[in-house]
Amino acid sequence: MFLNELTELSGVSGCEYEVRNYIKGKLSEMGCEFYVDKLGNIIAHNKGKKNKNIMLSAHMDEVGLIVSNIDSDGFIKFKAVGGIDQRVLNSKVVVIGENKIPGVIGSKAVHLMSEEERGSSLPIDKLYIDIGTSTKEETEKVVNIGDYAAFKSDYVEFGNNMIKAKALDNRAGCSIILELLSQNLDADFYGVFTVMEEVGLRGAETAAYQLEPDLGIVLEGTVCADMPEVDEHESSTFIGKGAVLSLMDNATIYDIETVRSAAKIAEDNNITYQYRRSTSGGNDAGVIHKTKRGAKVVAISVPCRYIHSSISVASKNDIDSALKLTKQVIIENQKGE
C-alpha cells in the first residue's frame, strides 16, 4: 500500500510536484515506462496483451488553500483552491509552501462574536492563517502571496479496517493505479496520474488527447454521506459496501453497457460493489469521454466520508474491492473475442 505515504504529501491543485516526484520515484523503482507531459501529468505504460486502448486515470491534486494577502501584523489571508465548505476550515493546522511552514487557521474568538455573527458560519474572508509572526516583513521572509497551503492531518488506521487521512480524494485512486502498475499484468493499459482535477479537470483533458483511449477507467475517492440523519437516498455511497460504480454525475453519463459489464465482472469474481446514488459532482471522466473521437468511460471509486476536508475516511476493504475490480475489468477487456 502506497496510501500512507501518498496522503502525507502536499499536492494542492496546480502544485502537485511532491506527489509527482513520489510517484516518479516509485515507477522508476518498478522499472515502469513513463513520461511527464507538458501540464505535469504522469503517463505510465504497462505493456501486455492488447485488445483495445485502455487509459486508467487518477488525479494527484487535492483541495487546499492559496495565500492571497499578508496583513501588516503578519496574518495571512487566503483563498480556497477547489470546493471547500467554509465550515471545515476553522482551527486546522496547515503547511505552507515548499518549506512547509506550519500555521494554524484562526478566527475571532467565539466569546467576542455578536449574536448575529454566531448565527452564520464564518466566510473564508474572515479566516486567516497565523504562523506566529507579528509583522508583515517577518511573514514575508518565509511565506509569499501565491504559496499553496495544504491541510496537515496524519494518516491513521482505526475502527474496523478504516483509514483516516487528508486527500483520500484522490490518493486512493493514485495508490490503486500504482499497485496495478507494480503487478506486471499481462494486459495492456496506460496509468495516468493527472493534475488539476479539482479546479476543472485540466490534466485529464490533455492526457486523453495524447492517448486516444477506447476505454477510460477513472479511479476516484468519491462522496459518501452514510451518516446519522442523512436519508439513505441522499448518502450517495456506503462505506464498507465495496467498490463504487458511477451511473451519472454532473459531467458524465457513463456508458451503461460498460458499467453493467463491470458490475457483472464484480459479481462473477465475488467482489463487493455498489452504485453511486447521486448525480452531483464530476471527475476526470467528464473530459476523457469527450476528447477527440470520444471514449467509453467507467468510474470505479472508493467511498470516502468527509472528502474535501482535512479528515477523509475510507475502508481498506473498499479500496481492495476497487483494486480487484479494476484489475478484472482490464483483464476482461484485453482478452479479445
Binding site: A109, H111, I131, G132, D154, G159, D226, I311, V313
Partner: protein, 346 residues
C-alpha cells in the same frame, strides 16, 4: 523547559470533572519545587511551598479543559455527544478525536461533503447536535468499548510556529500552569517568607467550581489568579493586548486596587513588560469565586494573551509565560518585605 512541560501536559487531557486521570504528570513537574501536596474534594491540585511566616498566598490557574461527553451510541458506529464547558462548535468540524472508553478510540467528526450540501446550508453554522463522532466500528463492536458518559477530546499535537510562538489545545489555561511552574522555580532560588500555594483548579470551565472549593480549603490572605485573555487578531480593535508584550494586568471591582498597584510598581521597577485591561465587573475567571470565598480574599488577576480561545489551535508566546512567572516570584518576594496589612487595609 517551559515548552517541554507545556507540550507534555497539553498532550494529555484534563477534561472538567476528570482532572484526576492524568494527575501524575502534573505532580511530576511541581514536586521538585514544592514541599507538600494535597487536593480539595473536587479535584483541584494544591502544591505548597512552605515559608517562615503565617502569610498564605494562593496562586490559581485552572488545569481543566473543555471536552466532549458521549450521549448515545448510534447505528453505523457513530456517537452523539454533548459538551463539557463552552465549545465553539465550528472548531469541532473535521477534527480527529480520541474517545476515552474502555480503551482509547480514534474517531473523526465529519460533515457531509460540499457536493451534497446547498449554498444556504453552508452559510449556517453547525450545531453540536448536528455533529457525530465516526469511530469506524459497528454499533455492536462500539457498545463493548464505549459507554454513555465517556469523554472525548480533540487530538492536537502541540505545534511550534515561528520564533517563540506555540499552538495547541488547552493552553487555556495550561499556559498559566506553566507560569506557576516558572514562579515556583524562581521562588526556590530565594528564601521567601510567605507560604505559597500553587493551585491547579478543577472545573473552571463549568463554573469556577474548583476555585471555590480550593480557596475555601486554603483560606489564603491573598489570591493571584492566572488565566488567558484575548490576544490581538485582525478582527479586534487596534489597541488590543498583543502576544509577546507581557502579561495583561486587570483593573476593576473584583481586583484589589492597592495589591494590583503594588504588582505594577514591581514590574516597572524590574523592567518586566506588561499590558493592561479594564474589567468593570465579572472577570469570567477563577477570581470571581476566589474573591468571595470565606470572609473575602483580596485578589489580583494576570492574563496571558492568547489567540483563538476555545479551539484546538490556541496560540501563545512562550516569552509571556516566563515574564509573568519571574514577575510573580519577584512580587511575592517584595510582599514579604512589605507590610501586607498596610497594603490590604482600605
Amino acid at each position: 523547559m517551559l515548552k517541554e512541560f507545556l507540550f507534555d501536559i497539553c498532550s494529555n487531557h484534563f477534561v472538567s470533572g476528570f482532572e484526576h486521570i492524568n494527575g501524575d504528570i502534573l505532580k511530576k513537574y511541581f514536586k521538585p519545587y514544592t514541599d507538600s501536596f494535597e487536593m480539595d474534594r473536587l479535584g483541584s491540585y494544591i502544591f505548597k511551598r512552605a515559608g517562615s511566616n503565617d502569610t498564605k498566598i494562593m496562586l490559581a490557574a485552572h488545569i481543566d479543559e473543555i471536552g466532549l461527553m458521549v450521549t448515545s451510541i448510534l447505528e453505523g458506529g457513530f456517537l452523539s455527544f454533548s459538551t463539557v464547558g463552552g465549545f465553539n462548535s465550528s472548531s469541532l468540524v473535521a477534527q480527529d478525536v480520541t474517545v476515552y472508553g474502555k480503551e482509547n478510540i480514534f474517531g473523526v467528526i465529519g460533515i457531509k461533503p460540499p457536493h451534497l450540501t446547498s449554498e444556504e446550508e453552508r452559510k449556517k453554522p453547525l450545531k453540536i447536535k448536528e455533529l457525530y463522532i465516526d469511530t469506524g466500528y459497528t454499533k455492536e463492536e462500539l457498545e463493548k468499548l464505549v459507554k454513555i458518559g465517556d469523554i472525548a477530546t480533540v487530538n492536537r499535537k502541540p505545534l511550534s510556529l515561528q520564533g517563540s510562538i506555540i499552538s495547541a489545545k488547552a493552553f487555556d489555561d495550561r499556559a498559566c500552569i506553566a507560569v506557576m511552574l516558572e514562579a515556583a522555580k524562581e521562588l526556590k532560588k530565594i528564601s521567601h517568607k510567605s507560604n505559597v500555594y500553587f493551585t491547579a483548579t478543577a472545573q473552571e470551565e463549568t463554573g469556577l467550581r474548583g476555585a471555590k472549593t480550593s480557596s475555601y480549603k486554603i483560606a489564603p490572605d491573598i489570591g493571584i489568579v492566572l488565566d488567558v485573555g484575548f490576544g490581538k487578531t485582525p478582527d479586534m480593535p487596534a489597541d488590543s493586548p498583543q502576544l509577546g508584550k507581557g502579561p495583561i494586568v486587570a483593573y476593576g471591582g473584583r481586583l484589589n486596587t492597592k495589591l494590583t498597584k503594588k504588582f505594577v510598581e514591581i514590574c516597572k521597577k524590574y523592567n518586566y513588560p506588561m499590558q493592561h485591561e479594564a474589567v468593570p465587573a465579572r472577570t469570567g475567571t477563577d477570581t470571581d469565586a476566589v474573591q468571595v470565598s470565606r470572609d473575602g480574599i483580596p485578589c489580583i488577576l494576570l492574563s496571558i494573551p492568547l489567540r483563538y480561545m476555545h479551539t484546538s489551535v490556541e496560540t501563545i508566546d512562550i516569552n509571556d509565560l516566563e515574564i509573568a512567572g519571574k514577575a510573580l516570584a519577584r512580587f511575592i518576594n517584595e510582599l514579604d518585605n512589605s507590610d501586607l496589612e498596610e497594603i490590604l487595609c482600605f
